[in-house]
Symmetry: D2
Subunit: 320 residues, 4 copies
């Protein structure tokens, strides 16, 4: 039986993490389960830095970006001493279950906890990159896409005023999801992502007969093998007269109030996490596949390296 859930956010922050806290706490309250927030990811588990989470605070902050619990990458958690402290915190506070909001690394890092204690573990996928198997969408992705798209909309205003070419770098270290979605939805002419090849050739071919009579938007994923600087150089080499600008959107893509879609996903997954714990699930990540909540063992939560087929078809027609 579960009386006390601990919850933490780990790794990179993502919009929707606060809404997920709300989803967990509201559902736990429904079953008379206490929830404690653990500050700064695994650091707080080691240092016994817990706060109580009440529903009104979460109703007031579920719409905010970032994470009110703070987050961190924690190396001490890998040491013997760190682990002993973590187990101590769990025992002292009689925590029966731990919900971890973060990425694949954050989930797997917790697995040994289950060996040294009776704790149940559930993960919630929180990363703007949408690069995890076991879920169609991760928390923060829809917000990051909307943020990037709105930035590109703004850049289009000035690009069209001058008929300029813009190369715009969006986030996605190993994944082209943000680039594909933000580029398609902002009417980009070309999108370069790590999952596909030859996009740059196709772009350069199109530029051969570009006469600066309209704007042209090129969206590049951070992790694409051809970096934005190189993209700019190649464009200039094809057509030196092109009026070209480069913008890297950077960390603003990680922040901002979560969208409705991310909040729905957050409270849905948060609520489903508690139900999963009540059904004695452990060592699993919750996710959403084809609009239904589902569970995947932590071992199966690996990085996705493919864009979905439907999106690939759109890229072939719209951006090449």
């Amino acid at each position: 039986m579960i009386n006390h859930i601990g919850i933490l956010t780990s790794g990179g922050d993502a919009p929707g993490m606060n809404a997920a806290l709300y989803g967990v706490v509201k559902t736990a309250q429904h079953y008379n389960i206490k929830v404690s927030g653990i500050k700064k990811g695994y650091e707080g588990l080691i240092s016994n830095d817990l706060i109580s989470l009440d529903i009104q605070t979460l109703q007031s902050s579920m719409h905010l970006g970032g994470t009110i619990l703070r987050t961190a990458r924690c190396d001490v958690f890998k040491t013997e001493q760190g682990r002993a402290c973590a187990i101590n915190t769990i025992n002292k506070n009689k925590i029966d279950a731990l919900i971890i909001i973060g990425g694949d690394g954050s989930f797997k890092g917790a697995l040994w906890l289950a060996q040294k204690s009776n704790i149940q573990l559930i993960g919630i996928p929180g990363t703007i990159d949408n690069d995890l198997a076991g879920t169609d969408f991760t928390l923060g992705f829809d917000t990051a896409v909307n943020t990037s798209m709105q930035c590109i909309d703004k850049i289009r205003d000035t690009a069209e005023s001058h008929n300029r070419v813009f190369v715009i770098e969006v986030m996605g270290r190993d994944s082209g999801y943000i680039a594909a979605y933000s580029g398609l939805t902002s009417g980009a002419d070309s999108i370069l992502i790590p999952e596909s090849r030859n996009d740059i050739e196709s772009l350069l071919n199109n530029l051969d007969d570009f006469h600066s009579d309209h704007a042209l938007i090129v969206v590049v994923a951070e992790g694409d093998e051809v970096g934005t600087q190189e993209v700019c150089e190649k464009i200039k080499s094809v057509n030196p007269n092109i009026d070209l600008r480069l913008t890297k959107l950077g960390h603003l893509q990680r922040g901002g109030n979560p969208t409705a879609s991310d909040r729905m996903l957050a409270i849905g997954l948060g609520s489903f996490s508690v139900h999963a714990l009540l059904e004695n699930k452990t060592g699993m990540m919750v996710g959403i596949i084809n609009n239904r909540y589902c569970l995947t063992k932590f071992a199966g939560v690996i990085k996705k390296h493919e864009i979905s087929e439907e999106v690939n078809k759109l890229l072939a027609i719209f951006c090449r």
Copy 2:
């Protein structure tokens, strides 16, 4: 073979209609098919009011709300004379296929066209209410939800400053989808929708011991059997000291730049429409079910009268 597609927007406008035009035209261009825009829904078909749609205009306007083609409800289209003019426009302009962006009424109204001409017909579901069978989501719904949610976020600022109770009416004449999504995602305490019963009793019970020590947000769908005025009266009858305010969000929910999700849906469905025409489909609406594009005969495109099971479960825990 299809050489010329006509496209029109009909019925109420919805954010994402311009993005759907972009989706259709970009895909048609890929297959060397000409696309003409028909102004003001069926009115333009009757009066032969056509414009050519070029890709750069659509890249510049796909991010805007409303419809650059304008829309209208057209009674003349039901008359003999009106129909003769419509057929004339189709023949004169050698239009092989018609794509209709609108609701169920707009699709069925066109069916007789297929009897009097060789034209192929494809519908794209465009309505903020998300109340159509044959698709999980309609164009404009995600934007309307985000708009409503952001308005409720703003109202929360002032509600919490005063610990007030707010009753907020959102759109949805027969459907509680906008209310359910915007209420859940804004942390509402109570949501009243036409698809469920007894919500009002549950709300009034909760108010019995409400001590004005926090804000309380009640979201009501326009089409709920208990109107917002009555909701306010019932609240006052339970607890006359409650500091209560009523806001009806109204038509601002129909406008605004479409979200990324609506734009993705729009270009996806727009593109899929052209592919459906190329595969000789006709008399069908395109839709998305479990993340895959699909087709439903116009006869099957009826109003949905149920909230999805997943959302219902959330409502039971979060808002009652």
Copy 3:
């Protein structure tokens, strides 16, 4: 000498109040002055409900709408007993000065405090209505105007899609400032405000030859003598075929993150308040006139009943 400032927000909340707290605390910190926040306006002064305000909390919340101190209208403050408690709080906590963020009523209500204690009093004008003498702009006005304008922008999307006439009510119980600014900046065709007459006749004359070939936007201040319902009826009586819709924006205009302009005003006035206290000013409201901070005695802080001449000239050309 001032060692301890108390600060409270009173009356209706307005975006920018949190930024004003930041402005006060940051400046006070510069002079090694302690600042305590008083919760719920004068209620907290009576009940001794004080919190310490640290700079990092304020850096994290200065961008949010509402007021983290909460606000209230407080009748007990007018009673002998209430006043005794308030004086007690001031003495017990050794509060040397009180900064009141609110409207004219909130300032004057505090004047007797100065008679019963040595406390210095400074007011900061916080109201979205911009209806106070002694300052060109009040805290929250620019945000409310931007919010209303953006709502009207959204309504324009759907109005133009259908060539409809919209009557839109914005806030301003006695003042047409929000209506004038939000109407002018959203390209409204007509603006009805309490400060001027005959606007409705001018509107009705224009509608005589209105052929529904474009949208038409009418913005009405809440406090205009012709209410929105009556405006709609008059329009219908001139031209019954007009496709007319009414939207009342309501309380969403009070919330939302403050704009840059409101935040600048807030930190400017907050900072100037502390400097005024250091110069032994008391019983005065800070304000901004012609871009310079200034002081007005509480007695002179009366309601403005005129729109500025520059704005009136624009109204005469753009909206009649």
Copy 4:
């Protein structure tokens, strides 16, 4: 007498240019004056590329960023041949007056036109940098500040989640106005601008005892003598353990829908321009000083190299 005004946008685009067109055309219409839009700045004057501007198109686009007239920097305008063509366009179209929306260079470039024709010239200050003498604010500045501020708000979400230090570059090649305003209004800890010195030393001193227990935001103007890369290196040299990130906001600051303040300024200056022409003014820029419209001879429209005194005082307290 003036029967025909030509209007163009020149140099860098700025949000509010479309609203200024609306302001000019609506006022001109009031006096039965025709207005023609000249495409792509002086290029369109040379190539006789004129369009008529009707009020409904402008009501529909006044809220959009960029410029519907397009803009360009035009070298041909400095040649004999180019100038002959420009004069030819003026004569052929019987243009009595030219309104130029742009920066100081765009105004002065037109002065010779007055020597070779009877044309009257009025300039409207359109640049996001707010770096022109003769006006307190330029078109686009308030929007650029709000855009930058909102981006910094988003970055704060992630900065606070990790207690990171962020260096954020905002626009302003020779001017620190955008940096000062967006930094102050987003609660930045430090702001580096070209107009002041020693800011970097003050920042580095503060970092000596920085223990990564909160976020820290440094805003740097593009034109500051210490570039952002160097700022990062200096920070790292003081404290190598600091978790530091750099973001350059870039061109997204030039786009987006204009704020209410920029639209008010735009229609105010647009309207005042027409009135100035009617009073036979020429060779002058309109501006706003202490809330009143005013005129400055083109020769006096030089770059501002100082932040206003009021803002400097705030910087001294809030960001050093």
